[in-house]
Amino acid sequence: MANDIQIEFKQLNLISNTQIIDGVYSLRFKRFFDFTPGQVISIKLTEDMPGRLYSIASSSSSEFIDILFKVRPEGLLSPQLANLKSGEKMYVSTPMGNFIDQQTDAVWIASGTGIAPYLSMIRSGTKGTKTLIYGASYRNHFYNDKELQNSNIIDNYVRCCSREQHNDCFYGRITAYIDQIKDLPNRKYYLCGNPDMVVEVRDKLIKRGIAFNDILAEIYF
């Protein structure tokens, strides 16, 4: 597995930067490395600034790398990244990390842009049947919703919408959804997204009898 110690950056040109909804963008550049779905890259705009990590959302065989990012208005990099235009320069690291799918049946849990590694896994043709529990505040914040609905490896796609009521969504947070499931599937659990979601959902799963060593988490700190 590529778990490079030295984080090396390469300068390259942005191919496209598309706004998906207000404050959320999909950014594309040409792939220059091999990676395993679930891995992250570090991105920066100048040589001497510290990089920020982003999950790769694209397929491991695609010619391009796509990432999905949300602007943190008071942040250093993400507001600048939102303004980056195609053709402009950026620095991208080689891939790292090992939030890797075991290619078995699993429950995938995500909040917000935390869907990105699962998108990469689906697009790269991972094996096994997956239940996907996806949390967001509003109905249009379930990114790549159509693609997820149509994925043939997802046997159960649950959208937990915490601030709007919709017929096709569970109204509430992921933890509330888990509370009302009678029997939790006996599978591996993957959690990806913001720290609060990951910690609360992990605690909830453990309370409901899931072994802690069946839970794998990636935190967007």
Binding site: N3, D4, I5, I7, V40, S42, P50, G51, L53, M96, G97, N98, F99, P195, D196, V198, V199, R202, D203, I206, K207, A211, F212, N213, I215, L216, A217, E218, I219, F221
Partner: protein
Amino acid sequence: MDKIKLLGKTLTELQEIVLELGLPKFNAKQIAQWLYKHNVSDIDEMTNLSKKARERMSEKYEVGAYTHTNVQTSVDGTKKYLFPTMKDQFIESAYIPDRDRATLCVSSQVGCKMGCLFCMTARQGFMGHLTSGDIVNQVRSLPEREKLTNIVYMGMGEPLDNLEEVLKSIEIFTSDYGYAMSPRRITLSTIGLVPAMQEFLDRSEAHLAISLHSPFEQERKQLMPIESVYSLHSVIDTVKKFDFGRQRRVSFEYIMFDGVNDSPRHARELIKLLGDMRCRINLIKFHPIPDSPLKGCSREKMEAFENILKAKGVMTTIRSSRGEDIFAACGLLSTKERSKKR
């Protein structure tokens, strides 16, 4: 409008402030001395500055020190201080006297984002970074300040997730204009954010402690989500490549969980990983937190584990449990205080 706090400013920052106020440059060093050597609480106490200078400074600035709101004392002398920071948020500092040394364990963030399975602070979520002033204040406002010999960044938060403020506080603790402590009396403990760890190694001289808790990547991942990003091998390789010189130390923290990471297989793998390094392994007893699937392991098991490591020449210590009767696990006291406020 809230005044800007001077406590926590480095000499360079104080020089910028005096320049901005139109005061002579040498005033910056005088202010630093009042802040960090005389521990004044008010700008008016800085009597070698002109009255006009003090007045001008007071319009926009204040010293910004504050005292603790609660303290718990253990039968063994360990004290846990609670400091108020942001609105209704608290941080903890643990004062640990021990024979000829007295250590303060300082916090670097309010809450934490890293989500370690065994940690109470993780459950609080993340409320914010501490400023260098908030970090320095934990020492400045410690009643036992005069007895303090060592500082460890091992309280609430991951210090390398707040790198710049932490580095500023270390500069103030170790500079001649500040507390003039030796950097060899300061240890920063991290779960291993590799790029920031490299920065810390390059830009400071303090010791480094790494929270390891398992020598196997797959198992460490279940305890510490950071392993999904920066693997323990990448952390150890970074440390191995760095020249620590003769005085600077690296140590590894290893909390022992019953039936999880306490087998001879784990000990042997630790030897493989760290056997060729000049380092120390600290074995730590786990203080269970509510509803945790993890349990602490017995003293006998810890000693058996220690013996395997020592037999292969790995410097190993079983860290004595201090302050067990006052919630020694970091984050418990402040969680209690927050729930009282709600």
